[in-house]
């Protein structure tokens, strides 16, 4: 007999083993209730609100960027005045 044959004989015996098992139905129902996905509507409302806020911020940012001036620009007139 080699090792694999011995293991196969052990498996034949092991198949007769009794597995410990209890009634898990109640725990399964608890798991189902805990794992049930939340309703979609509130999530989509949050998503819509976030998208709206992002749009407003983007609009303000573009406006601020386009109307802004270079902070160094104010230096150049001073340089011109100081020329001989």
């Amino acid at each position: 007999m080699d090792e694999l044959e011995a293991i196969e004989q052990l498996v034949v015996r092991a198949r007769r083993e009794r597995a410990p098992a209890g009634d898990v139905a109640a725990a399964v129902l608890v798991g189902i209730r805990a794992g049930r996905p939340a309703p979609v509507l509130p999530l989509s409302l949050v998503a819509a609100g976030a998208a709206l806020a992002a749009g407003v911020v983007l609009t303000l940012a573009v406006h601020a960027w386009s109307s802004g001036t270079d902070p160094q620009a104010a230096l150049f007139p001073v340089v011109e005045v100081m020329q001989p």
């Binding site: 098992a21 209890g22 399964v28 189902i32």
Partner: protein, 200 residues
């Protein structure tokens, strides 16, 4: 409560049970009590399958719960073309394999599994044989271990293993070959035959 192991019988169940069909329809319609009845009818067989993945009763029970929670949320995917037991066996296989992979990432947990030196020589009983086989198989990588579990305990052929795992048949054959070769080497290194007194 100890219940008889029936994993093989589970996979060989011939027909879709009418009671199952009724309870599945009711559970899909939101009747939780109908699903609880399905759990009670199939939990023994599922536990028997998962007992091959862990020999810790608490862990095993947790895995059984995971299987049924997963089954509940995937109930729409069960088309009723085969027995519910087959479908549950596939989920159990996935849940057990996931458990192993998670466990193998925790190296310490694997290192704790070793052969029990108190195994009686000559004639180990079912529980002792089960523990010994489990300890030997625990030294294999999860994929190879799964192939041998399905071959040895559920009498699955290459086609059935491929169906249950989603692997190709060629991959199953290769893993079975490597697993057996590796298992033999492990058993030899552990002097299994001497330990059992089966050397003659």
């Amino acid at each position: 409560m100890a219940l008889a192991v029936g994993a093989t019988a589970m996979y060989n169940a011939p027909l879709v049970d009418e009671t199952d069909r009724r309870d599945i329809a009711a559970a899909r319609a939101g009747d939780e009590e109908a699903f609880a009845r399905l759990v009670r009818r199939h939990q023994t067989a599922v536990a028997s399958l998962l007992w091959r993945f862990t020999r810790q009763p608490a862990e095993c029970e947790e895995l059984v719960q995971d299987v049924f929670v997963e089954a509940y949320f995937g109930l729409d995917g069960y088309r009723g073309e085969g027995p519910l037991a087959h479908w549950l066996a596939r989920i159990a296989c996935r849940v057990g394999y996931r458990f192993w992979k998670k466990q193998s990432r925790r190296a310490a947990a694997v290192a704790l599994e070793h052969l029990d030196p108190a195994v009686p020589a000559g004639d180990p009983g079912p529980a002792e044989a089960g523990a010994l086989v489990h300890a030997l198989l625990a030294r294999l990588p999860p994929a190879e271990r799964l192939v041998l579990i399905l071959m040895y305990f559920d009498s699955c052929g290459v086609r059935e293993i491929a169906e249950r795992t989603g692997w190709t048949r060629a991959m199953v054959k290769m893993r079975a070959y490597r697993a057996r070769r590796r298992l033999k080497a492990i058993a030899r290194r552990e002097r299994l035959l001497e330990r059992l007194g089966w050397t003659s």
